[in-house]
Amino acid sequence: MYDKGKILGGLLIGIVLLLFPVYYNAGRAAKAPERVLTEKAKAAKQCVEDLAYMKAQHMKILDEWRQEVVRQDTRYYKSSDGKTYFKSLQLTCMECHSNKTQFCDQCHNYMGVAPYCWDCHIAPKENG
């Protein structure tokens, strides 16, 4: 092999550079944010569905609601425990979860997702 030293050296430098993010971030995993509830949300005990379902499927519910409200003009949601809710992100969800920066943004930032809800929908006013 010609230029053995240069090739292997180059490869080594390449691997070191390539793996930079791995060893640079090793042992520094960001802590998963804690879910923060407002007093009102705590008092309500349960969201429109149970906790496990909301954790996994809230984006699906929101997507279905927006379709149904805008496209089918059906504005009331019947939850699995028989309660009826007005389908509205701004009026129903945010009435309890008025702490958008803690309740929504914290986890979305951690997960690296950027839903564009708030480009149009108006977020509740938060103190500080």
Partner: protein, 266 residues
């Protein structure tokens, strides 16, 4: 006749005060959104919504009230620049409103006079045919609706609409000049739009769902009675049919075959 006398009223008031002080108010016992759900209003329904605007009642005050009511309700900002303006309902001269019916000897009451114009909610809407994502479509009650979630901002609908009833958000509407929109967004219960979507009048679909007539009609009629009419075109005794039956009316560019559902009584 009074339903209850003074004595009964005081009794009820007393009991209510006691209950209120001791127990919890009813709204606190309900889950969020539940109060709205319990008070489910009866939506207004129709086969074909239509509007009639009485030109003889239109002055700056009436038109201003209608425009203000609409634009404040739906968070439509004043962009301060006609190139990027957003409009759901606005004023247009006779020449621009009815371009094919203009001549230089037209009666003075029309010449250069402003008409109140908005989306015509056409029976055969060309905008809906042009839309590649079905972000705009004609509902079963005749409302030409917009789904902002689905709009990709291609502006085909704007090119297709012969009435200029659609506006494009060239920028973020929340960046609208502060001095022109000091309290924007004016209605925290409804969304604004975002950069890159097309918006227009939705015949107050939000209000109809709550059993209310469109905001512009209500506001205009509050200034001058029977300035605007709204109702189901297929119902013989609806306000709009009654108005059209007795007075002569015209529509904008009917020759294009789009079937506009906004009528102008002249």
């Amino acid at each position: 006749m009074m339903g209850i006398n003074r004595r009964e009223f005081l009794k009820i008031a007393g009991w209510s005060a006691l209950l209120g002080a001791g127990g919890k108010a009813a709204f606190e016992l309900l889950a969020p959104g539940e109060a709205e759900a319990l008070l489910q209003p009866t939506p207004l329904k129709a086969k074909q919504w239509a509007m009639a605007i009485d030109f003889t009642k239109m002055d700056e005050e009436v038109m201003g009230a209608a425009i203000r009511a609409c634009h404040r309700l739906y968070n439509v900002p004043d962009m301060g620049n006609p190139k990027v303006e957003l409009k759901w309902i606005w004023k247009e001269t006779y020449e621009h409103t009815f371009p094919t019916q203009e001549n230089e000897y037209i009666a003075e009451q029309f010449h250069h006079h402003n008409f109140l114009v908005l989306c015509n909610h056409c029976t055969n809407p060309p905008c809906c045919r042009a839309c590649p994502t079905k972000a705009t479509w004609r509902r079963e009650d005749g409302i030409v609706m917009m789904d902002m979630h689905r709009c990709i901002g291609c502006r085909f609908c704007m090119a297709a609409c012969p009435f200029g009833a659609r506006s494009f958000n060239w920028g973020d509407p929340r960046q609208a000049p502060k001095e022109l929109n000091p309290d924007f967004p004016t209605n925290p219960d409804l969304p604004t739009r975002s950069k890159g979507v097309v918006e227009k009048c939705q015949f107050c679909a939000e209000r109809l769902a709550k059993g209310q007539i469109p905001a512009c009609v209500e506001a205009a009629n509050a200034v001058k009675t029977e300035a605007m009419f709204f109702g189901d075109l297929t119902v013989k005794d609806s306000p709009v049919r009654k108005a059209l039956r007795t007075r002569y009316s015209i529509r904008r560019k009917p020759e294009l075959g789009t079937g506009p559902n906004v009528y102008y009584i002249i």
